[in-house]
Point group: C2
Chain length 230, copies 2
DNA sequence: TTGATTTGGTGATGTACATCACATTTTGTA
DNA sequence: TACAAAATGTGATGTACATCACCAAATCAA
């Protein structure tokens, strides 16, 4: 993990929509309490249970958000793309983080002192409003996907995952799967073996193409239908 | 549904912690854009898909929050106790409500114009902060319970539901189940038949007592253990 | 380059739980 | 009070998917 020369948040090209609203004075305060760091693929950013002394803003890269259930099984909540905060709800609602965060690619992140962040929320209602909107959307989306896990059965959940990568994460019909099949099982609440079997089935039916880690969706409408019917 | 004589939000004894923070001017604005209504058990407050023109604050009573999946199955997200807002995340993040709300008891609610509510968030950072904290906590709690549905199996989820009623909703070892076994199935992601069977099993094992709708938890530690081991 | 570790593929087997099909009891209402 | 509708109880049956067991392929580390 490499700390980068600190530069002014005003000039930062990766800053969040919320931070863009801050006044010059507030931006100065932020700059003084923010440090940029580079992380490598596979690095843990922070773990569930850690104190929320800092909030992390993801400038570039892809991150896995997950938790371990009481039965020791991992559950992946979402993948987080650049220009998002990690663990906002935990930081705002509690003293400890509820989820763990791991780098799926090399990352650039900013660590922001959480006291300063909360201070900014309280001093600038428009900033607070932007944060509220993004927290609300993120939570509704996550919840929606979580509900589907107990409402749909395996093929439907698998289709959901493929659509998630294609439409939300990469916005393309072709993409390289950034996680292992084990992780894919943790994302779709099933087992690694079932993922393998579903891959071969979907390949055989010409719904998707799979070359190594590269997935191409051939029949999008069929995939969406499988997602709907569960 | 009965509209009550409007009285000043300043004098309201059921106002939220967030509203208690507002300035006299802001409270005046709220009073002018808020109306209290009485609803009967079984009434629908609003449905998923409706426009978020108003936000509803629950003054007294118990509410069921739910959604219908694409496979037509209902899923209950949570029961909401007095002194909470209904559908805050939807109102803040989107133009339409994502969940439906139904009265499990007779209710008293306030309808607040959502434009005014958003205005208050933007004009008062401390108010916004309180809202942010409650949205964050509610979402983390809901998500946690949702994750357990796909991580644990039936007895564990049933135990979770019993603990939810006992510890979160009623804060007592004895309580009257406010929902049918059908609803209980929708809350625990199982079927009505399985709920019945689990009831008889837990009764026979002396974990709970069931008289009509009245449930008494006899072995709390055992129930917590079942919840943990799934 | 080699051996170790992680990841991925596939069959055989078991089981948790849904589904179906009724009977019975309770609740709401005409 | 009586009848319909909703809610509950319980068995028989089926199946989706986990689990186990083992092998092959890819990746990593020395």
């Amino acid at each position: 993990m490499t700390v980068i020369n600190k530069y002014d948040c005003v000039l930062c090209k990766d800053k969040s929509c919320a931070v863009a609203i801050l006044t010059p004075d507030e931006l100065k305060l932020l700059t003084g309490n923010c440090s940029e760091v580079e992380l490598k693929r596979g690095d843990t950013i922070f773990k569930a249970g850690s104190l929320t002394t800092h909030i992390v803003y993801l400038k570039t890269g892809l991150v896995k958000e997950s938790l371990i259930g009481s039965n020791k099984k991992e559950q992946i909540i979402q993948l987080i793309k650049a220009h998002s905060y990690l663990g906002l709800s935990s930081m705002l609602g509690y003293k400890t983080n509820h989820y763990s965060y791991k780098a799926l690619e090399d990352l650039r992140v900013c660590y922001i002192d959480s006291t300063v962040f909360k201070q900014l929320v309280q001093s600038n209602g428009k900033f607070a409003f932007e944060i509220l909107v993004s927290v609300s959307r993120e939570n509704l989306n996550n919840y929606h996907r979580c509900v589907n896990k107990s409402l749909k059965q395996m093929y439907g959940r698998f289709a959901d995952a493929m659509l998630y990568f294609s439409q939300v994460i990469y916005e393309s019909n072709t993409f390289d799967l950034p996680i292992t099949q084990n992780d894919l099982a943790a994302l779709t609440a099933t087992t690694r073996e079932s993922i393998t079997r579903t891959f071969t089935k979907f390949k055989n039916e010409g719904i998707i193409e799979l070359n190594g880690k590269t997935i191409t969706i051939l029949k999008m409408d069929l995939l969406e239908n499988i997602s709907k019917t569960g």
